[in-house]
Subunit: 292 residues, 2 copies
């Protein structure tokens, strides 16, 4: 079973496991495990790792339209080095501060591979699920896509400073809260836009039609991609960008764009069935940690 | 730096990191990372692993005198095997049910070593810290000690069924809540009684005098220990038993024992300084994951 199938299995057994975070009363909670081999390429600083790992969980809180309250992280590494831990905690604290949450601590574990597990908490009176999209709703994306794909290339190309910059994203908590009153369905794009659209379509029992030219590709992608095919691959499929993918009724779209503190791009429309881009089927593939 | 020094460093930098769980308003949150090499000996079933990993975090909630509300777990393994994941989730769910909390889901990660990170949440109007013990308070322990040490021997001896039984402990949430109104300081015994007493003494700026004969050793220890020295080692130093270590003012002790749903043994008394057993210094050593 790959990670995706396993998660689908869990989703069928646990209430709320099909959303970005679990809902307990007016609280949301979400946890993620990241590790060196698949998530932190050579050159990733411990500061960036702390920012990014905790940011990934805060992004799940954002995707529920919740206020982020707090985060914790468990840090496992072969060497419990003081400077590395301090850098990690600084990154974790700073990303929390960026979204008005508190980093409240964690656990340390001697571990063969550098491994981080993060948990973020939030509260929401009316959390936004993946399952409420209706045909005719506008499909939108916050910010830009392809940043993390570009970062990976830059790590490979020996440009770690720029790559680390791109790797530290701002979790879209403020955008998620601003969009929540209008959103019929929301999730983050951590598995890539294509896969996210498939997941949203499946959860909402609908389809999505995307306009390829409307997909907001990050400028950094142009720095590393050699042709249109590569740009498209990075923007649509690579994932790990932690933007929000959201469905909004047509008549509330202008107000939502106005209210959202992050640029919001309309990329398509909810349909009855099928996930398509420019009239062709959009493959359901993306970044799967379990595969490698 | 070993795990203990690293944790001490973090404790000096993060509010609440010196307690079993972080406090955010009327909530407590705690996270733990466990992995195969140090925490799950060969023969540990995935059901037991789920129970024990989530139980370890619930024990931290218990140590704050909080009500346990929910837990999540991130599960990393080389193979995301359906039966193994289901067994893990069943164990995680069952230990939550045992303390009236909800297991609300988690994350899956393809990972070279079997690794689990768990987070538990609770609420408490007035969480009990490690820092309030006063000279003259009685020092007590719930349940019995040495169960996990005995379990390890039994895993080694090829008796996995009995070992798995011993490895699945009931987190002392009900006891923690019953003791909270009277407790001046509380923590769990996950690092062993000796180390826990040192930590409690340090946090409370006091000492502790223990009566060696009063330490409640689990019957299972007799099955595996060959002499008194080994019994004493398992009961005092090994740890991983997840009982509560609590300081209670003398005049409230009888009522606390009466109210506590778990047997509560008085093992000693809070003093001005020094951690001693039967008049001799009690070494500050125990189970340190980071050491191996």
């Amino acid at each position: 079973m790959d990670e995706r199938e396993a998660l689908a299995m869990l989703a069928s057994e646990l209430p709320g496991a099909g959303d970005d975070a679990a809902v307990i009363g007016d609280q949301v909670v979400t946890t993620d495990m990241l590790h060196e081999t698949t998530d932190f390429p050579a050159g990733t600083t411990r500061y960036t790792a702390g920012w990014r790992a905790v940011g990934a969980s805060l992004s799940d809180v954002a995707a529920m339209g919740a206020r982020a309250t707090a985060a914790v992280a468990a840090y496992g590494a072969p060497e419990l080095d003081r400077e590395e831990i301090e850098a990690f905690v600084a990154g974790a604290s700073d990303v929390c501060e960026a979204v008005d949450a508190a980093y409240v601590g964690g656990d340390l574990d001697g571990h063969e591979e550098f491994t981080v597990a993060t948990t973020a908490l939030g509260d929401a009176d009316d959390p936004v699920r993946r399952s409420g999209a209706q045909p005719g709703d506008a499909v939108c994306v916050t910010g830009t896509l392809g940043r993390s794909a570009a970062a990976l290339e830059l790590f490979d190309d020996g440009k770690p400073e720029r790559a680390n910059d791109l790797f530290r994203f701002e979790p879209r908590v403020a955008a998620g809260r601003a969009l929540a009153p209008d959103a019929t369905a929301m999730m983050d794009s951590s598995d890539g836009l294509a896969r996210s659209l498939h997941q949203l379509a499946e959860a909402s029992d609908c389809g999505v039609e995307i306009d390829g030219d409307a997909v907001p590709i990050d400028d950094a992608v142009a720095e590393v991609a050699t042709d249109d095919a590569e740009r498209r691959e990075m923007g649509l499929f690579f994932g790990e960008d932690f933007e929000l993918v959201v469905a909004i009724p047509e008549d509330r779209l202008d107000a939502a764009i106005e209210r959202c503190p992050t640029p919001l791009s309309r990329v398509g429309t909810v349909t009855g069935a099928g996930v398509e881009i420019d009239g062709e089927p959009l493959p359901d593939r993306g970044f799967t940690h379990g595969k490698e």
